[in-house]
C-alpha cells in the first residue's frame, strides 16, 4: 500500500498531471510533490498523488525495480503496484 508507482509526466494542467505508466495514462495530482515538476519528469505516485519527483540519475533503476516487481499472478507486491494505478483516475487533462 505504501509502495507507490513511478511514471512519466506527459502534460500538466494546474495541479493535475497526465502521467504515463507503461503506456497507461492516468491523472495524478501534484499538490504533495516535493519540488516543482514539468513534462518529461518522473514522479512516484501513491494513491493518486505524486509524492516525489524522481531525480534523473535514479529513473532507470527505479523503473527496472518496478518492472521486476510487476511480474507474477497472485503476487502481493505486483498486486500492490497495480492497485496504485487503480487508485489513479483515468481522465487526464488531455485525455
Amino acid at each position: 500500500m505504501c509502495l507507490g508507482v513511478p511514471g512519466r509526466i506527459v502534460s500538466i494542467d494546474g495541479v493535475v498531471a497526465t502521467v504515463d505508466f507503461w503506456g497507461v495514462r492516468r491523472a495524478v495530482r501534484l499538490e504533495l510533490v516535493d519540488e516543482p515538476v514539468q513534462p518529461g519528469d518522473y514522479v512516484l505516485n501513491h494513491v493518486g498523488f505524486a509524492i516525489r519527483r524522481i531525480p534523473e540519475e535514479d529513473i532507470q533503476g527505479t523503473l527496472d525495480l518496478y518492472e521486476s516487481l510487476l511480474h507474477g499472478e497472485g503476487d502481493l507486491m505486483a498486486a500492490d503496484v497495480r492497485s496504485e494505478l487503480a487508485a489513479t483516475p483515468e481522465q487526464g487533462p488531455d485525455a
Binding site: 500500500m1 503506456g23 497507461v24 497472485g74 503476487d75 502481493l76 500492490d80 489513479t88 483516475p89
Partner: protein
Amino acid sequence: MPEATGGGLGAEELRLRRSPHGTGGGLRPASEPDGARELKFRDPARARELGLALTAAADAMGRTVSLMHVCGSHEQAIARYGLRASFPRSLDVIMGPGCPVCITDTPEVDEGVALARQGVTIATYGDMVKVPGTVLSLGDVQAEGAKVEVVYSVSQAVELARATRDPVVFFATGFETTAVATAAALLAGVPDNFFVLSAHKYIPPVMEIVAEMPGSRVEGFLAAGHAATITGWGVFEAFVERHKLPVVVAGFEPLDILAALLKLVELVRDGKPEVVNMFPRCVTREGNRNAQEQLFKVFRPAGGRWRGIAHVPNGNLRLRDEWAHVDARRRFDIDLRPLWQYAPPALVQDCICGDIMAGIANPKQCKLFGKECVPDTPVGACMVSSEGTCKIWHLYGGVPDLADAPRAEVQP
C-alpha cells in the same frame, strides 16, 4: 489490495502494453514463465556477496540478534525472495506493526460498522471491508444491505460524494504516506456531504512503544523507505537518542534490504546507535516538507490504541478542530453499544494477531494459521491485508517452508 479489482487495471492490460520508457522492451509478455523469474535478483553476484557478509557479521556476534522492520512491503520482499531462509540462524528479522490495515483497532472498525448500519455510505480501501470489528466487519453489514463502497483513493470517495446528496464517510486508514493524500484532498475542497472517519496512524511513535515493551529483544529497526520519503530520516534521530537503538532506512528491493540488515548488524556490533539512510534515492533528512505541512494542517497527532500494540501516544492522526465540519466523529452520533451486546466469535478469541503485530509471535505459532484462518475466510486482520504478516506467510510460505525452496541468492 489484491482482492479489489473492480474498475482496476488488470495484469493483462499492463502486460500487453509496451514500455514508453525505452527500458529495453518494457514488460515481458505473459507467456514468459513468471515462476522462473520470481526469485531472481537483478544482481545475483551482489546478492551473494551481501548474503555472505550478513552471515559472517551475524555469526561473529556469537548470539542471536533480533531486528525489526515496520513495513508490509519489506515483509513482502523478504518472503517473496525467500530471504529469511537465507538468513543465518543467529539473525532474527521480525515484522512489527507495519501493516496499516492490521493495526486499525477494533473500535475504529466498529465506528465504521455502526455508521454503515445507521444508513451512512462508507467508502474505504478494499482490505478494510474484511477486517473484523468486535463482532462484525464492514463486509458483514454490507451483506445485510448497508452501503459500503470500496475505493482505491480518497479522490474516488470524494467523487462518490459529488454524485449523491447522501452523506458519504471516507473511512481513512493508512500511515503518513496515505494520510497526506487525505489531507491534500480536504485542502483541495470537498462537497458538504463528505466526511472523514480518520484511522490514520503515524509510524515514528509506535517504534518507541515497541522498543519499550517488556521483554523486547529488538536491537535495531529497519525503517520503511516511502514513509520516510514523507517524514525524512531526521524524524528518527530523537528515537535513536532516547533508546540507543540504531535505525536504518531501507528501500524495497531485496538487495536494499540485505544491505540495510548488514548495516544494522554492524551498528549493533559496534555499539553505534545512529540513523543511517540506505535509501537516499527516495529519502532525505528533511523529507517532503510540502507534504508534511499539508498533513499537519489537517491532522494532529493524538494518543490512541493500535490493534495488538496498546495505547500509542501520538500514534493516531485525528482531524484538527478547524476540520470539525468534516470529522465524522463530531458530525454523527456514533453509537457502538448495539455492537457490544454480543460475544466475539469463538475463533477470534484464539487469534494472536495482536502478538504478531507486536513482533512477539509469528504466524506459525497461531493454531488457526492456514487452517481455520486463510485469506478467503480470515479470522484476524493480519490474514486480510496484502501487507499482513499472516497473509504474506500464507502466500509465500514462512521460515520452515522456505528452507526447502531454492535459495534466492544462488539463482543465476
